[in-house]
């Protein structure tokens, strides 16, 4: 099947659950994971006579994201009702923004392999989440948990700028990273804090017109998104190749079977009857308010990345890893104030600190060793007192358990201080050469690789404490 004559076109609607303390339109706890139906009130239950009131934090978070993405902030935005019946939608409508969303336009730069790519944002709007339905859990009944009903969401609608599942992956990762940097969401996909609907179509390469699209609903993991898109692209190509036509549909992806299938017709035929929400006045923002939010924006992921490569001279790989999460970047920047060996600092964080925290399910902010102590650890290696490998292998674990012990002290008690006493080392070198006359001869005849053998013998004789740099110099001098 000649799939490669088609180009894939994807637009994404990402739903971000905001990390506000209370819900979008009432004071209920908005946390994840409470006992079912405990974070509720007459308002979130849609009891007769209740009215919504806007959570100001939701607005602030929307503006924060909009500014980070370079969107135009609508100083006046309005709410609308989206009407449909469902058991987990207590009011029979969802409060959303249809006509005048809070943010319009903007873009997010993503990296796909070596390539940079701009994904344009169509708009961002505020809305509320529905409750959670659990079907088939309890015999013929469905269970409803309304803890999530009314939790604030931002929906980020992209232009159809993505061309592959890989790009979708990169875009979602970048968006997840951004919302976490901004502190507006935990970005936790397993808990549903980040979900997406994918609009997928294909068209012959070179064509400028868009093909008929299908919408795959509610993908709550990047892996599923990837599989769903790959399946869907193939399905559309097969359909077209066999003379068929793609019909606009809303699809569900079943992770168990790996295929997409249309939602039932009735659900698909929703007419949401949007109209202005009469219970909420327009959201009117002062220009000064927007400027204040802008002033308080944290450094953004790409700004941090550029700083790491440009100011600190780190390789792209290191900068990527260190800037992935804001706390990691902050950890590096703070450590960099205590040491001038930025590369060593980066290595230490990437190879030791991060794995240490990951193994323990610990946030990097909780890592017990101070930046000063870590800088002393780096200095120990830089000054040649301890071999790099020995320091990583033996000193780091002890330091992590006794964060206040000076690294030098640990090195001494573990007998890891390297000997650079030339007199002593010269004697050892001479002994090794005298004990291995054959190898010496072969070396002199050109088998230069044997230098490693001699090094090893000397290190062994010194019980690992010889400074390899000094030994190397001595060996080369004696061997000629």
């Amino acid at each position: 099947m000649p799939y490669d004559k088609y180009e894939t076109v994807i637009g994404l609607e990402i739903h971000v659950q905001l990390a506000t303390r209370s819900k979008a339109f009432c004071g209920d706890d908005a946390s994840f994971g409470g006992e079912p139906n405990t974070y509720i009130s007459p308002i979130s239950l849609g009891h007769p006579g209740t009215l919504p009131r806007l959570n100001k934090k939701q607005v602030e978070y929307a503006v924060r994201l909009g500014l980070a993405l370079g969107s135009r902030i609508n100083l006046t935005s309005t709410f609308d009702r989206k009407n449909y019946f469902y058991a987990d939608l207590p009011k029979g409508y969802q409060i959303t923004q249809d006509r005048q969303p809070i943010c319009v336009g903007g873009q997010l730069n993503i990296r796909v392999g070596e390539e940079q790519k701009i994904v344009r944002i169509h708009h961002i709007h505020m809305e509320e989440d529905a409750g959670k339905s659990m079907h088939d859990a309890e015999g013929p009944y469905s269970l409803i948990d309304l803890n999530r009903a009314g939790v604030p969401l931002l929906e980020i609608v992209s232009e159809p700028d993505l061309r592959s599942a890989e790009e979708v992956d990169a875009y979602m990762s970048a968006m997840r990273q951004l919302v976490r940097y901004l502190g507006i969401s935990d970005g936790n996909m397993e808990q549903g804090s980040l979900r997406c609907d994918c609009n997928v179509s294909i068209r012959p390469k070179g064509s400028e017109t868009l093909g008929q699209r299908c919408e795959i609903k509610n993908l709550n993991s990047m892996r599923y998104a990837r599989r769903a898109i790959e399946y869907e692209v193939r399905r559309q190509a097969v359909l077209i190749e066999s003379g068929g036509r793609v019909e606009q549909q809303t699809l569900n992806f079943d992770p168990a079977t790996g295929i997409t299938a249309p939602l039932r017709d009735k659900e698909d035929a929703h007419d949401y009857r949007y109209f202005p929400e009469p219970d909420l006045p327009p959201v009117v923002l002062e220009p000064g308010y927007v400027e204040e939010v802008r002033r308080n924006l944290p450094a953004l992921p790409w700004e941090v990345y550029d700083r790491l490569t440009e100011e600190f001279g780190l390789p792209a790989y290191d900068a990527g890893l260190l800037s992935e999460e804001r706390p990691t970047a902050i950890f590096f920047l703070e450590l960099a104030q205590h040491t001038a060996n930025f590369k060593a600092a980066a290595n230490l964080i990437i190879n030791k600190v991060i794995p240490y925290c990951n193994e323990r399910g610990m946030e990097i902010t909780a890592f017990p060793v101070s930046h000063g102590q870590l800088a002393a650890f780096i200095r120990l290696i830089d000054e040649g007192k301890v071999a790099n490998a020995a320091a990583y292998q033996h000193i780091f674990p002890v330091l992590a358990e006794s964060p206040n012990r000076p690294p030098l002290d640990i090195a001494q008690s573990l007998n890891l201080i390297q000997t650079s006493d030339e007199g002593l080392l010269e004697k050892l070198v001479e002994e090794v050469l005298a004990n291995n006359p054959d190898e010496v001869e072969r070396y002199r005849k050109g088998k230069k690789g044997l230098i490693g053998f001699f090094m090893g013998e000397v290190m062994k004789a010194s019980q690992g404490q010889a400074d390899p740099k000094v030994v190397n110099g001595l060996l080369r001098g004696k061997l000629g």
Binding site: G46, G49, F85
Partner: protein, 480 residues
């Protein structure tokens, strides 16, 4: 004649020792019993009201100076206003068995000033009706002539006051539901500016029109009740934060007023000659007193009703979605799955008029019809608002009949919904424009039924309007 027509009379009697809260409640309970046949109440809080009266009496004996401003106020409330731990059913079967978990803000404020709630009054189902005949609990009868309707939708409240079963009642007014029954029953009905009183705890019909309003024997009491209920509420974002004047202490109207009436209204083919006569009589009287009363052109009168019914039914169709048989209220015993729960519960739970308006509203919001109906009606609303405001540039008040005729026969218009809708022609303008309007009894129709006329004022000018209303009460003896 009612025993008391103002709270100040009641409080005078309490101070003199002739009356106590308990004796008042006993009196009104007796009146309720005597007028059972009028069907004004759906629930009487007899024991509770007596207990509260005794408690208030005890407090008063202890510390008379600490009594609330509404000490001695025996009040009823329309069955669309929530009272914690009490049923609220909006005159509908669909709320069967439902108990509210909170008290409406307006009611809460009255209770805090010592009001005693004596019962919940009958009304049209979800306040949809002009005769109180759409109530699940049966029609209310006009105390002036039990073969006549009391008006609606706050018919129970109007009759409760008319029949002297309480001193005042809280109604709600979406298109005249306080003023028209007040006029039919010969009591004072007042609809404040939209947003003047919090709607929290008022079951929504047309959210951008609904407003709670008092029905009383006197303008004085309306002013006092308004003063206490009005003001911002963190639970209603559409409640105005504008300062609340001391209406009850600013009831002296001095100087000369400028009033406009619409030629199109007084010459309207639907206007009953007896009402016309009452208007002309009042106009002559006012002119004789030196006020200016002039006819102005208002070419939109016949557009008001169509636009109003498009907008309110649209909002209602969404507002009534929450009554779905899932979480509270009536659920059909024959429901077998989600869809049949919706269909059967709503089919069996809503009456004809509510269903008619839900369907109308659903239709006008449907894809393809929105622009032709909803969007156009919004434009009409803006025009009417603009034109009304323009009139207030030259006039203090607009004088208008409250209804085209006096109370008609029970059952007379039940089969003619459009004729019924058209009877709202004079009251709807105030809701379309969001302005305050006062219905005052001005005398008797040739056939003996009460006649009420209506006065409208610019937004938030209820102070001026109420003062003028009090002036009229004095000018037209026998009106109150």
């Amino acid at each position: 004649m009612p025993k008391y027509t103002t709270l100040s009379q009641v409080q005078q009697a309490i101070r003199s020792g002739a009356e106590s809260c308990e004796s008042l409640v006993q009196y009104y309970l007796g009146r309720i019993e005597a007028s059972r046949a009028l069907n004004a109440y759906v629930e009487v809080y007899a024991e509770e009201a007596l207990a509260r009266a005794r408690e208030l009496d005890a407090q008063y004996r202890e510390k008379p100076e600490a009594a609330g401003r509404l000490h001695g106020m025996v009040l009823s409330h329309k069955d669309v206003i929530c009272y914690k731990d009490h049923r609220v059913s909006a005159g509908s079967k669909i709320l069967e068995g439902f108990t509210s978990l909170f008290t409406a803000t307006a009611l809460e404020r009255l209770l805090a000033e010592g009001a005693i709630l004596i019962g919940r009054t009958n009304c049209d189902e979800f306040a949809m009706g002009s005769t109180n005949e759409t109530s699940y609990f049966g029609p209310v009868k006009n105390a002036a002539d039990p073969t006549k309707v009391p008006g609606g939708s706050s018919g129970g409240s109007a009759v409760a006051v008319q029949a002297d079963t309480c001193l005042a009642s809280l109604g709600s007014d979406t298109g005249g539901s306080v003023r028209q029954p007040a006029a039919f029953c010969g009591v004072v009905g007042f609809k404040p500016t939209y947003g003047r009183i919090s709607r929290y705890g008022l079951l929504a019909y047309g959210s951008s029109f609904d407003q709670i309003g008092p029905l009383t024997h006197s303008v004085e009491d309306a002013a006092l009740l308004l003063e206490i209920m009005a003001g911002p509420d963190e639970y209603d974002s559409t409640a105005s934060s504008r300062e609340v004047p001391a209406y009850s202490r600013q009831l002296d109207f001095g100087g000369k007023a400028r009033l406009a009436y619409f030629n199109t209204a007084l010459e309207h083919p639907s206007l009953d000659p007896g009402i016309r006569q009452a208007c002309d009589g009042l106009i002559g009287r006012l002119r004789a007193e030196g006020h200016t009363v002039e006819g102005v052109d208002f070419e939109y009168l016949d557009y008001i009703i169509p636009a109003y019914y498009v907008l309110t039914t649209a909002e209602a169709s969404s507002n009534l979605s929450r009554y779905d048989g899932i979480r509270y209220g009536y659920r059909s015993p024959d429901a077998g799955n989600l869809m049949s729960t919706y269909k059967r519960s709503r089919t069996e739970g809503f009456g004809t008029e509510a269903k008619r308006r839900i369907m109308l509203g659903t239709f006008v919001l449907s894809a393809g019809y929105y622009d032709a109906y909803y969007a156009k009606a919004q434009k009409v609303r803006r025009l009417i608002r603009g034109k009304t405001e323009a009139i207030f540039k030259s006039y203090d008040f607009i004088l208008m009949p409250a209804a085209p005729g006096p109370a008609w026969n029970l059952g007379e218009k039940m089969d003619e919904p459009v004729a019924m809708y058209l009877a709202d022609i004079f009251t709807v303008q105030a809701n379309m424009a969001g302005i305050p309007a006062l219905a005052l009894p001005v005398g008797a129709h040739p056939g003996g039924l009460p006649v009420g006329l209506q006065f409208m004022a610019p937004k938030f000018e209820e102070g001026k309007l109420l003062a003028f209303g009090r002036y009229l009460e004095a000018l037209l003896p026998g009106s109150a």
